[in-house]
């Protein structure tokens, strides 16, 4: 099979996530200008309607709301009304409990309970990141991801820990429960996972 390239990109403004405002917006906008037809999702520092609007006007298709979804869930409702089908909630979890503020703070909120609250808002999807796994190349937490997918009607995008084709196969075998995608970072950069091989496997299933 030939390479078709990525159908979506996941961008994270890390400085933005820590500082609560966009810091790398210029880079994001350069990418959307270069690839106007490519769906791009961006997270990190989207904490006001104005920031959200700026990204949407710049051609960003999906906005990922992390910390604010936990501390101010009504912000998600508001965004979903203003930007239907463009809002993704990004939940970082450790042992099933939500973490915020660029992972600096651990809450006692259950990721499943919080996810259910967003069902009525029309959230497009949930990016579920297992903190303990992220960037550690130890395999995705399939059990926790599937558990969340089963317990909410919102499609789940798996993130954190994806290392090789075993992770992709494992997620694919449970995708029917509502896992719509998988974000991969370190694995494709370090070469333990071939992006195109992974996408091709998804396409034939």
């Amino acid at each position: 099979m030939g390479g078709t390239g990525a159908r979506r990109l996941h961008l994270v403004d890390l400085n933005g996530a820590f500082e609560g405002k966009p810091i790398n917006a210029q880079s994001v906008m350069e990418i959307t200008q270069e690839f106007p037809d490519l769906p791009v999702q961006i997270g990190g520092g989207i904490r006001t309607m104005e920031i959200a609007n700026t990204y949407v006007e710049a051609g960003v298709k999906y906005l990922i709301i992390g910390t604010m979804a936990v501390t101010h869930p009504e912000f998600v409702s508001e965004l979903c009304r203003e930007f239907p089908d463009k809002i993704i909630v990004g939940l970082d979890a450790n042992n099933g409990l939500v973490a915020t503020e660029g992972w600096a703070k651990q809450t006692d909120l259950s990721v499943v309970d919080l996810s259910k609250k967003f069902e009525q808002d029309g959230v497009n999807s949930i990016v579920y990141t297992d903190i303990a796994r992220d960037g550690m190349m130890q395999g995705v937490n399939i059990e926790a991801t599937v558990n969340l997918a089963k317990q909410t009607s919102i499609p789940i995008i798996a993130s954190g820990g994806i290392t090789n084709m075993d992770d992709i196969s494992g997620l694919l075998s449970e995708a029917r429960h509502g896992i719509m995608g998988a974000i991969t970072g370190r694995a494709i950069y370090e070469g333990t996972l071939d992006f195109q091989e992974a996408q091709n496997l998804c396409d034939i299933k």
């Binding site: 390479g3 078709t4 390239g5 990525a6 159908r7 979506r8 990109l9 996941h10 961008l11 994270v12 403004d13 890390l14 400085n15 820590f18 810091i23 790398n24 210029q26 880079s27 994001v28 350069e30 990418i31 270069e34 690839f35 490519l38 999702q41 990190g44 970082d92 660029g102 992972w103 903190i131 303990a132 992220d134 960037g135 550690m136 995008i157 993130s159 992709i168 997620l171 694919l172 995708a175 896992i179 719509m180 995608g181 998988a182 974000i183 991969t184 970072g185 370190r186 494709i188 950069y189 370090e190 070469g191 071939d194 992006f195 195109q196 091989e197 992974a198 996408q199 998804c202």
Partner: protein, 51 residues
Amino acid sequence: MIIIPAIDLKDGQCVRLRQGVMEDTTVFSDNPVDMATQWVVQGRDACIWWI
């Protein structure tokens, strides 16, 4: 499922963190548009040459 390449931006560079720790950073590129191009246009074999 769709596979979604991640590009984490820190100080205008493309990086990866370990477990969200800002100080534990690996820089993969200093050009985010080039990095995006690698994934979108080429897909296969992208970025291996960065490291």
